[in-house]
């Protein structure tokens, strides 16, 4: 086994990186892969609560790096799925407690044991971003169909290319189809046109995302949620399947009517 390291980043904060990491990691594990996710947002950890694993943290990423515990001890196993682990961020330290080469070394240790390593990147283009980028084999850039998020995504995509970690793949999160239909929200095609990178996911705006994070249950577990389906599709694409993009109908009533659900657009 040799894991693939996926770094999820964005430029602008609050666009859904942590949500994406939690759902992609859980979705890949649901599909039978061995997955570990790493919270790279030192000082502002959140992946633990989104995954519902906050009560079980003893050691964190910085404890591992500074040798206060063994790697194993900082890996929290998710009891709901066979092979999902979390390495939480330290809450009381800052980004400089870890260096890019620490992250490369850590991931090299994990690679042998896992299929996927998914890293949650902090917002911004500073040290935390460098740390999360250093070990990446693949970079997913999350953005919203919103002017400043798209602009910042473009900056990040450029930086990823400059670090020779490109081409990044795009996840367009929080698409509100009613607004798209009114002409009041950039369409996925618009965003792809502007950023000129390949799309790997279109995630609808979905209240169930918040419901899920309230409960510490990523929405990817919810068979009925549209965002959950969109995340499962991202995971299938990561596994090399050619899944058409969902038609983002405004009403969820179409669920199950597969003919209407899929537009058959190329991957």
């Amino acid at each position: 086994m040799a894991a693939k390291v996926i770094t999820v980043t964005s430029g602008k904060g609050g666009v859904g990186k942590t949500t994406n990491v939690a759902n992609i990691a859980a979705g890949l594990a649901l599909g039978g892969s061995k997955v570990v996710c790493i919270d790279g947002d030192i000082g502002l950890r959140n992946l633990d609560v989104v995954l519902g694993l906050e009560n079980r943290i003893v050691y964190d990423l910085v404890d591992v790096i500074e040798g206060r515990c063994r790697l194993r001890q900082a890996m929290i196993k998710d009891k709901r799925i066979a092979d999902l682990y979390l390495i939480p961020a330290a809450q009381t330290r800052d980004k400089t407690a870890v260096s890019p080469s620490d992250m490369v070394r850590l991931c090299d240790q994990l690679r042998l044991e896992f299929d996927w390593i998914v890293i949650d990147c902090p917002a911004g283009i500073e040290r935390g971003f460098r740390n999360a980028l250093a070990p990446a084999d693949m970079v997913l850039v999350v953005t919203n169909p919103e002017i400043s998020a798209v602009r910042d995504a473009d900056r990040i995509i450029g930086l990823v290319e400059a670090e020779e970690k490109g081409p990044a793949l795009l996840i367009l999160n929080r698409v509100n189809m009613e607004m798209v239909k009114r002409g009041d929200m950039l369409t996925p095609d618009d965003v792809v046109d502007l950023l000129a990178i390949e799309l790997i996911g279109i995630i609808p705006e979905d209240e169930q995302v918040l419901v899920g994070s309230n409960q510490g249950v990523p929405v990817v577990f919810d068979q009925k949620s549209r965002a959950g389906q969109a995340f499962r599709n991202v995971c299938a694409r990561l596994n090399g399947e050619n899944v058409p993009f969902m038609e983002l109908e405004a009403r969820p009533a179409l669920f199950g009517r597969l003919g209407k659900l899929f537009r058959g657009a190329a991957n």
């Binding site: 002017i147 798209v150 995509i157 290319e161 002409g183 009041d184 950039l186 502007l194």
Partner: protein, 82 residues
């Protein structure tokens, strides 16, 4: 100036297109204009330019930017007199 008829998503797209070109080239609109003026000034030392038809723009080619200059030249003086 007034784009009331335009849907908000399409003005977002237009504005982003503009902003991304300047972000990616690291040139402000002001610098871009100076670049055009200076470029034309240099060319004018050698050829005579038909200012009306000049079109200098930065185009996107995937994630790369390309400076396209379409600069019509006036016929040389001697030819024109005939």
């Amino acid at each position: 100036m007034f784009r009331r008829k335009q849907k908000s998503a399409s003005s977002a797209k237009d504005r982003l297109q503009f902003v991304l070109i300047h972000d990616r080239t690291n040139l402000t609109p002001e610098q871009m204009n100076r670049l055009k003026d200076e470029l034309l000034a240099v060319l004018a030392k050698y050829v005579s330019i038909d200012g009306q038809g000049v079109n200098i723009s930065v185009e996107q080619d995937g994630r790369e930017q390309r400076l396209l200059a379409d600069i019509p030249l006036k016929p040389a003086e001697t030819l024109r007199r005939r």
